[in-house]
Amino acid sequence: MSTLSALARLRALREGRAQRLATVRHCHLSDRPMVLIPLRLAGEAAAPLAAMAGTDPDHPRLLVVPQPRDRDLRFAFTAELAEVVLPYVEGLQKATETVERRGAEPYERCVDAPQLLVPNPAGVTFVQLLGRSTRFRRAEGPYAVHPSVPVLGRWLTFFGRRAQYPGSVLLAAATDLLSLHWATGQSALEDANLASLLGWIDPPPGMSGASAAREAEDPLVWPPAGPATDPGFDAEVLAPAIRAYQEAPGERAAAAVAAAVRSQLEPTWRLMWRAVDLLRALPPGGGAAARWEGDRTAFTAFAAQLAEGAPPQPRRDGAVAAAARLARMERARAVYDAQRAFDDPLVMAGHRLAGEAFTGTVVAAEPDRTEGEGRGRKLRPLLVVRTGDPVRLAAGARLATPARRGQRADVVDVAGGEVTLKIVKGMGRGTTATPGAVPQVGEVVCYAALTDEYQPPAALPAPEETPWTHGGPPPEYVPAEDDAEEDWS
């Protein structure tokens, strides 16, 4: 939360409508995303009740478990979900491109990747749980399931884990994506309600965002976007329908349950596609495409692992794997923040208000200044920038600039609205600056203490050298009999 986004919320309140927090779209949006709205039976960890899924706004598929406590019906549900998700995921593995790398073997990468959109972060968590409860199942043996079920489980686990990765959008929550681009006149807590968030962003004609959002809180008008259902609906509608099915299982009773959950899912289905349209209307930012490349690489790699018959993902990461993953995510977070700021002056403005970035006019420049003697002589141009921004940077801070992406500069001094910089990278070789590399007097420039540079991973021991303080080397994962037989009750 920056002063800028706080102000944007205030303005939203005054205008009765959400305010932009971004000038470009900071997430890749697939041409053919799959919307998935799961519902869970209240009180259960991962008992699916229903799902609406599909890539075509006009043809959702409704999957229903008419008695969610029945284990066989649950697995039938997951098999059917696999029927929806797997063809979509597998279809995208066919077209690949060759990626050349300097100093390494070229590799194949899928030209496109799947994108699963769920309504809210709780939906992401539910996808993870569904993955966890299905990936260890077996197609043979005492508790056999359809062969597609464990495959679906591994994919959902992959999507779920990838969703924690900053900037990844293989699996994303609509409320997260929208909140990244708009500020509403309500609190972040209330923004987690998709209907109410969209009420602010895109109120129906003649209605203020505030009243649209209030109306959206009425579960009778806008049923919750899941996975939790409205307790009133559970008591009045769902419970009798499930009881009727229990007493007389059959098409008719199942149809009644289906009709009930459909009434809860359809409004959200429409909201999801409205969210997609709203996001699609934003011009894409440059970093989004680069991050999508990362997503495609991850997708390609996982598809290959699966094809090679790798075992299901373990229940928990070993200590070293967990630390490595955390370190990777932290770097991804820094890159993600930097890319968004470089792509978008509105995001950069937030950093400027926080004093981590500034914009100003160059008042003095020494493009050919050097440091050192003889062979050690290096080009180190100096720059003085006058700015009205509240700069809070210490001498020595490493800066980058959106106008010249490769360039790096160190802060020498900040005093009286003037920042003195020393350019240390991206200004040319030898002892003369490349023309245009160093800004000239009068130019308006922006520098920020943000970096989207690749940083080498922290040195971590190899998994087999895990220190005993962290549990020692992890046992190699051997799929155990009981993984597949674990109760799901």
């Binding site: 939360m1 920056s2 002063t3 800028l4 986004s5 706080a6 102000l7 944007a8 919320r9 205030l10 303005r11 309140l13 005054r14 932009r20 000038t23 039976l41 209240a42 009180g43 259960e44 960890a45 991962a46 749980l129 966890r132 409860s133 006149g185 309500q186 609190s187 972040a188 807590l189 209330e190 505030a210 809180e217 259902t229 409205d230 307790p231 009133g232 559970d234 008591a235 769902l238 419970a239 229940r315 928990r316 002056p345 509105l346 950069m348 403005a349 400027r352 208000l353 009205g388 921004d389 509240p390 674990e486 109760d487 799901w488 009750s489």
Partner: protein, 369 residues
């Protein structure tokens, strides 16, 4: 005390269960809530009569599931629970006594059941034999702003090595060693209420109150099976917060003092129990006591929709959440913040810094969007 009675009207004070008491600590700065809770006012009924019914409800599925899991854990003389405690804490084999303190025959009052609990806990504290191990459904009580509230007894207390522990049974799942943090936190807050009530009881009986462990045993289903698993949870922090809030509530007198003598939240129910008090009158009564709305209220307080509406009418920045308020340096209203931002309001010295930031934000926003 009769002051609080007058505030409540003729209805009996609403009993607090552990969940409600745990929620008392949710918004400690709110005078409205402190007064209504101290007086034992039925906030839910007040909110409904005001036209802002609370948005809370529990699904019947969740309730059934919770009851079924609890029954499973306690079945057969707490057979599952004994296994868990033997594994987790090394409870020795002979310690297998199980006493259901609610199994007293008939339907006696809470007061009588509480004295039954007292007597047996006293006996257990004196003589920790094998018979005195598990106590199911102890009926405990806590003093809240001068009133004794009896706690819905859905926990088990047990004794090992002279120390009592509270067992809290919850039906949310622990999957691969992880549970939803919100749910664990809520369970810890509730268990803290029982820990406090049990140590108060021991103190009243002349035993050392620190014989109640601040580590509670949380029993939840493991992974996706229905099989229970147990974990120890340290509730020291929750206890401290709870103690503090209860102490504050006993000082509620200072808030009540300046209120008009005639003030009451009585709903004016008729013989059929239907509230007849004019809504406008009740509204102004509730508004006599200042609130401190925060979006968190939406999860914790029955009056949340009413207070939110009030905050919206007043154009309070509270509406946008604590983070925004902090970012605004405590500027209280939307109009004031916006006026500082567009320069139409000159800041006083206290606000000079935030005004400068807001003006800059305003300028940047105009410049780049």
């Amino acid at each position: 005390m009769d002051r609080l009675d007058r505030l409540r009207g003729p209805e009996p004070p609403r009993p607090h269960d552990a969940r409600a008491i745990a929620a008392l600590a949710a918004n400690p700065g709110c005078a409205r809530r402190a007064v209504l809770d101290a007086a034992g006012v039925d906030k839910d009924a007040v909110a409904t009569h005001l036209g802002f019914p609370a948005p809370f409800g529990r699904s019947p599925f969740a309730i059934t599931r919770g009851d079924a899991f609890e029954a499973l854990v306690k079945e057969g003389g707490g057979a599952e629970l004994l296994r868990l405690l033997r594994e987790l804490l090394g409870l020795p084999l002979p310690l297998a006594g199980y006493t259901d303190l609610a199994d007293v025959g008939g339907n006696p009052s809470a007061h009588l059941r509480h004295s039954h609990t007292r007597r047996l806990i006293d006996r257990a504290a004196r003589d920790a034999g094998e018979a005195a191990t598990l106590y199911d459904h102890p009926l405990l009580r806590l003093e809240i702003a001068g009133y004794h509230s009896y706690l819905e007894p859905d926990v088990v207390a047990f004794q090992l090595g002279g120390r009592f522990h509270i067992v809290e049974i919850k039906s949310f799942a622990v999957v691969d060693g992880q549970a939803e943090p919100d749910k664990v936190a809520a369970a810890a807050r509730q268990a803290a209420v029982y820990v406090l009530a049990l140590s108060t009881l021991l103190a009243e009986l002349g035993h050392d109150p620190s014989r109640v462990s601040h580590e509670i045993v949380l029993v939840c289903p493991e992974n996706f099976a229905n099989r229970p698993a147990a974990t120890l949870v340290d509730v020291r922090r929750e206890l401290a917060v709870l103690r503090r809030q209860l102490a504050r509530m006993t000082r509620v007198g200072a808030i009540v003092e300046p209120l008009p003598d005639t003030l009451t939240f009585d709903l004016g129910r008729d013989d059929g129990g239907v509230p007849r008090r004019p809504v406008a009158e009740l509204r102004s009564a509730v508004r006599e006591v200042g609130a401190r709305y925060a979006p968190d209220c939406l999860n914790t307080c029955d009056l949340c929709f009413f207070c939110r509406e009030e905050a919206a009418e007043a154009g309070a920045t509270d509406l946008l959440g604590r983070q925004v308020r902090d970012e605004l340096g405590g500027v209280a209203t939307v109009a004031e913040a916006l006026a500082l931002a567009d320069g139409s309001l000159a800041p006083d010295d206290d606000r000079a810094e935030i005004a400068r930031l807001l003006r800059l934000a305003d300028r940047l926003y105009a410049e780049v969007s």
